[in-house]
């Protein structure tokens, strides 16, 4: 029984760390965007304040049961992925469900929440929400191809589907997979641009044309849950990339440095790019990223 | 010269076909001007469109002749071939302004007619447009008629915040400050 409580405490600590780090990154991204645009920008903790304000909103509306539970579905995805992805190497607090799932499970649990959220958005009856959802799902088909190709290349090369094993491979060989499987890393990073939905791939939210798309009917506590789930999920995705390609992290400082370095890629790419149309975005992902994915698989088979 | 010839031709042909059409053309601009009775408006417009090539309806306008007790409806047509405008005017009784609906000749007439119906209260027989055009939920008299007192209506319908009465006139204040006189051309605008 004590072990169970220990596990639950560890899970709670993991989630809190993920929330804090993720939401700080979002604030930093606003700050950096502002600096690029020659503005002063909000303080880096601005997103904390936003989340707190949304949580302290006193009223909320929903259009039905699915919209009410949509954010909870989204939370399942975020928290499950942060629990299954190893946060730190060999730390007793962060061994949550690391040994209970593998890469393919992660791939599928990652779409659980967006689908539940999409159902919630669908029930609002707002046409903008449904359009945003169709765009998001279409784009997902686009970037999943290079992403899966990169993962398949890794799994083929090292004969494992476990993330922990892939981390161990990097420790034993002393070389990050980023350098030993470069093409897989390139394909995965290109897919990451779509995963984070920064410009030019922000076709789902698209505030100018879709009024924030699937979120357009969510306010107050619903938006708060979605926002915190988004920041936890962003942290989970970054940690997954660090685990797969940069050898994981031994302590939290190392983790923060590595994840932030990765986070800069989609953000800085986004600051200077206008938005794609949906089919342009899909075709972009089926162009060079998929080519690099093929190269990664050939590299994995040949070497 | 060529233009004048064409204009003369058009005037002649219209006048032979429609006996009571009066023209007041000055040949200064590239436009013609006819006044006809409201009963023959559709046939005049049909004639101008089909025979004379005035295929485009630019606008339907209205003038309120309050002193004469009449409303004047003006149809402005344009011939892309001859590059000539035609104004066709007709007068309606101000108390009971009724005339024929014309949107079977030009589809766009529908829009203008809805506007005139709301703004001047002109009834077009058989105009199919159930919704309001611009004035949603309007209850007062047609607002564009000259006997409609917009300030009184505004004061009566909407709230009035006091403090505007002792507001200074802008021009007077400026002249007072700078010590210059109001220019003659601006005097008529001052209070």
């Amino acid at each position: 029984m004590n072990e169970l409580w220990f596990d639950i405490m560890g899970a709670i600590v993991t989630v809190i760390v993920a929330f804090v780090v993720g939401i700080t990154y979002m604030g930093l991204s606003r700050k950096i965007t502002a600096r690029v645009q020659n503005r002063k920008g909000p303080p880096f903790y601005q997103n904390f304040i936003d989340a707190l304000k949304l949580a302290s909103k006193t009223s909320a509306i929903h259009h039905g049961f699915m919209q009410h539970v949509g954010p909870a579905f989204m939370m399942i995805t975020s928290i499950m992925s942060v629990l299954i992805i190893p946060v730190l190497r060999g730390n007793a607090w962060f061994v949550n469900l690391n040994f209970h799932g593998d890469l393919i499970f992660i791939l599928y649990i990652m779409v659980f929440g967006p689908l539940g959220m999409a159902l919630g958005a669908g029930q609002t009856g707002n046409p903008n929400s449904a359009i945003g959802v169709t765009r998001g799902l279409s784009q997902m088909v686009g970037f999943e191809i290079p992403w899966v190709m990169a993962l398949v290349a890794l799994m083929m090369q090292y004969h494992t589907t476990s993330i922990v094993d892939l981390m161990n491979v990097q420790i034993q060989s002393g070389m990050w997979l980023m350098f030993s499987s470069p093409f897989a890393f390139i394909a995965a990073v290109m897919a990451m641009l779509g995963m984070f939905r920064y410009s030019p791939f922000d076709i789902v939210g698209a505030p100018q044309e879709l009024a924030s798309g699937p979120m357009s009917e969510n306010g107050g506590k619903y938006l708060f849950t979605l926002m915190s789930s988004g920041s936890i999920f962003a942290f989970a995705k970054l940690t997954l990339y660090v685990d797969l390609f940069m050898g994981g992290a031994g302590n939290l400082v190392e983790l923060v440095i590595k994840t932030f370095a990765l986070y800069l890629i989609p953000m800085l790419y986004g600051v200077t790019s206008p938005r794609y149309r949906t089919e342009q975005s899909i075709r972009w992902f089926w162009g060079w990223p998929t080519f690099f994915g093929f190269l990664a698989i050939i590299y994995a088979v040949v070497f | 010269m060529q233009e004048k010839k064409i204009k003369n031709k058009i005037i002649k042909r219209v006048k032979t076909n429609f006996k009571d059409a009066r023209d007041r053309n000055d040949f200064k601009y590239n436009r013609l001007d006819f006044s006809v009775k409201k009963e023959i408006i559709p046939s005049v417009l049909f004639y101008l469109k089909d025979e004379m090539g005035f295929i485009h309806l630019s606008h339907i306008s209205c003038v309120d002749w309050l002193e004469e007790g009449e409303l004047e409806v003006v149809f402005i047509l344009w011939s892309p071939e001859e590059k000539i405008k035609v104004f066709v005017r007709t007068r309606l009784d101000r108390d009971n302004p009724v005339m024929d609906n014309l949107d079977m000749i030009w589809r766009q007439a529908n829009t203008y007619e809805r506007e005139l119906r709301e703004m001047y209260g002109i009834q077009f027989t058989g105009l199919e447009a159930p919704d309001e055009f611009i004035l949603e939920d309007w209850q007062g008299p047609p607002p564009m008629r000259r006997d409609f007192d917009t300030e009184a209506y505004s004061n009566e319908t909407y709230f009035h915040r006091p403090g505007r009465e002792d507001a200074e006139d802008v021009r007077e204040t400026i002249t007072k400050r700078s010590g210059e006189d109001i220019p003659d051309f601006a005097k008529k605008y001052s209070r």
């Binding site: 899970a11 949580a55 009223s59 909320a60 509306i61 929903h62 259009h63 039905g64 049961f65 699915m66 009410h68 539970v69 954010p71 909870a72 939370m75 399942i76 499950m80 629990l83 040994f99 209970h100 799932g101 393919i104 499970f105 599928y108 649990i109 779409v111 659980f112 689908l115 999409a118 159902l119 669908g122 029930q123 609002t124 009856g125 707002n126 046409p127 449904a130 959802v133 169709t134 799902l137 279409s138 088909v141 191809i145 190709m149 398949v152 290349a153 083929m156 494992t160 589907t161 094993d165 009024a211 357009s216 009917e217 107050g220 506590k221 849950t225 949906t278 089919e279 075709r283 698989i297 | -």
Partner: protein
């Protein structure tokens, strides 16, 4: 016992058909009885080794059951009895109920017969009964009965002839119709026979399993049959093709060297079937058509698993076959319920039924999540095993193809749920009511099982294991499968139970948080009260987004969609017709012409005498 079951089926069918003349309620009861009594007899008394022999006209017929066919019988009879309960309510007040019931029972009987057959003759007879009864159901009613019926008929005929030819060839070599003799003698056959027989048999089975070039009949036939029947048409009847393919791929081809190429080709055909089915499913606006194409795609996954043929892949294929029967059966039943309550199954017309038909929504939601392969539903376990088996057997490109198809499947999954249940609640559907209890309960039972298999796959993995051992897979797999842990040959595992508990815990926590946070100030508003630029939508204004739903995606994949296999078949048919027309011209009907033909023929013979002889 074996043949008593079939006789009960047949007698039940006839009794049900004629009972309709007397009393409708009696007919319903007889119908249910003639499905349920043989089904319970089957599970109570029939087990492996219980063989019934019969010699008819000098041909030795044999009926019996083995572990493999017991698994498929579970699908057929389980789904069949659920669909039977549903049918009673579904057919209330419809015309030609006797016809429907008769064919329904006959199909179940034929499928049971196929699974029991131990010789090729009775196999073929039952196969034909199944084909005919399903053909009669396809033309029961519907919009374009003629084209659909002809397509199904032609393809079934092609399959049947191919199978008949294979049976004749086998008999000419073996001198016996028994399947055991075929399996025993197959490795010693000449190489050309080793290729010809599987090709012919796989053509026959491939038609029913809707494999890629032979799938064109499926969308029309699935969507035209009554939905109560389509659930077993797609859920169970197509599995007969899978059953045949399993026997051919494993019992015959795994013992000969050519088997490798067969496996690769079949697996790739399955992969391409999955992609094509998915892409076309996304385009459909009719729920029946969407599910029909989705069935083709799902059968593609199963064929991939069977084609690869490693123990894990075979297990994935069979597991997916069971799960597919569960969720696709449920979805077709749900569409039937919606069509019965609203009168249409088109996404453009029906919207916002979630508050009107909540239980149908719950069943559809669980089935759709299972179809999409998202944990914690049964579909995930099957997909997971399929990916792991493809990875461990080095089919890396096939993994990408399958993954593309299964990611694109989210698009039509969402389209199905959104189209029917979500979106604006229209006034037109304000008075729609939930389907009768007898229709809802079977759907809920089936969807509950697809939820259960996601956490406790061991329930169904045990019979699958037994079936695979019967086919000759090693006994070592027994210790590989525990109740809720699945793992691949590399040793990587997914432990399902803690994952499910975590998911439920997180969900409940946030559900409670969302509910109690400012509970008094949380309000339900109608779908008309949306933030659409400050406008109040009027009653007649339809704000639902349902036309060209997946347009951005369709634009991206447009080059692929331009090629339709249907067109090639039409071209082939036209070409053949022209050829026959030409042949017709040779026979002028004039005796003089024929005389000239004879003379020319003789002259040619004389001229080329030396070369020819």
């Amino acid at each position: 016992m074996n043949y008593i079951i079939l006789v009960v089926f047949l007698g039940g069918a006839l009794l049900t058909f004629f009972a309709g003349k007397i009393n409708n309620v009696l007919q319903d009861i007889l119908f249910l009885a003639s499905i349920l009594v043989p089904a319970s007899l089957f599970f109570a008394y029939v087990h492996a080794g219980n063989i019934f022999n019969l010699t008819l006209g000098g041909i030795h017929l044999s009926l019996g059951i083995n572990a493999m066919s017991w698994l498929f019988a579970l699908i057929v009879l389980g789904l069949g009895s659920m669909a039977a309960f549903y049918s009673v309510s579904f057919m209330k007040g419809k015309e030609r109920r006797g016809y429907f019931y008769f064919n329904f029972i006959l199909t179940i009987m034929a499928m049971t017969g196929i699974l029991m057959s131990r010789d090729l003759v009775s196999f073929f007879i039952f196969w034909e009964i199944m084909t005919w009864s399903s053909y009669l159901m396809t033309v029961y009613n519907g919009k374009d009965v003629q084209t659909v019926g002809i397509k199904y008929f032609v393809f079934s005929a092609i399959g049947a002839y191919a199978m008949l030819m294979a049976i004749v060839v086998i008999h000419s070599i073996n001198g016996s119709f028994m399947i055991e003799d075929l399996v025993r003698s197959f490795p010693e056959m000449p190489v050309n026979m080793q290729i010809l027989i599987p090709v012919l048999l796989l053509t026959g089975f491939g038609v029913k399993a809707a494999i890629m070039p032979l799938h064109v009949w499926a969308p029309g036939a699935y969507s035209n049959a009554p939905m109560a029947y389509t659930s077993i048409f797609s859920g169970a009847l197509s599995k007969m093709g899978i059953y045949g393919m399993v026997i051919v791929m494993v019992s015959l081809l795994s013992y000969v060297p050519e088997g490798y190429w067969f496996r690769e080709v079949i697996a790739w055909m399955g992969g391409i079937t999955a992609v094509i089915g998915t892409l076309w499913a996304i385009k459909q606006d009719d729920a029946k058509k969407l599910l029909a194409y989705s069935s083709i795609a799902q059968l593609g996954y199963i064929i991939v698993g069977i084609g690869i043929g490693t123990p894990l892949a075979m297990m994935a294929g069979l597991f997916l076959a069971v799960v597919h029967a569960l969720f696709k059966g449920t979805l077709f039943l749900a569409v039937g319920a919606i069509e019965r309550q609203t009168g249409t199954s088109n996404f453009r017309e029906v919207t916002g039924l979630i508050r009107k038909m909540p239980w149908t929504f719950v069943a559809s939601l669980i089935s759709i999540i299972s179809l999409a392969g998202i944990p914690p539903m049964g579909g995930f376990v099957g997909k997971w095993m399929l990916y792991e088996s493809l990875l461990t057997s080095n089919h890396y490109l096939l993994v990408i193809v399958i993954f593309f198809s299964s990611t694109a499947a989210f698009l039509y999954c969402y389209k199905f749920l959104f189209g029917f249940f979500l979106g604006q609640e229209e006034k037109e559907w304000a008075n729609v009511k939930e389907a009768p209890v007898l229709m809802v309960v079977p759907m809920l039972i089936l969807s509950f099982f697809s939820f259960l298999l996601g956490t406790y796959p061991g329930i169904i993995l045990k019979p699958i294991d037994a079936g695979m051992q019967y086919l000759g897979y090693g006994i070592t797999q027994n210790h590989l499968w525990q109740t809720s842990v699945i793992f691949n040959t590399w040793g990587n595992q997914v432990v399902l139970q803690p994952l499910l508990y975590s998911i439920i815990a997180i969900f409940l926590f946030f559900l409670i948080f969302l509910t109690i946070k400012s509970f008094k100030q949380t309000r339900y508003v109608t779908t008309k009260d949306i933030s659409s630029s400050g406008e109040v939508p009027k009653e007649h204004e339809n704000l639902t987004f349902s036309v060209d739903f997946m347009q951005p995606f369709m634009r991206a994949v447009e080059p692929v969609m331009r090629r339709q296999i249907d067109k090639y078949y039409t071209g082939l048919a036209n070409g053949l017709e022209a050829l026959f027309d030409f042949m017709r011209k040779i026979y002028t009907g004039n005796g003089q012409t024929y005389a000239i033909y004879v003379i020319v023929f003789v002259v040619i013979l004389l001229l080329f005498k030396d070369i020819l002889f």
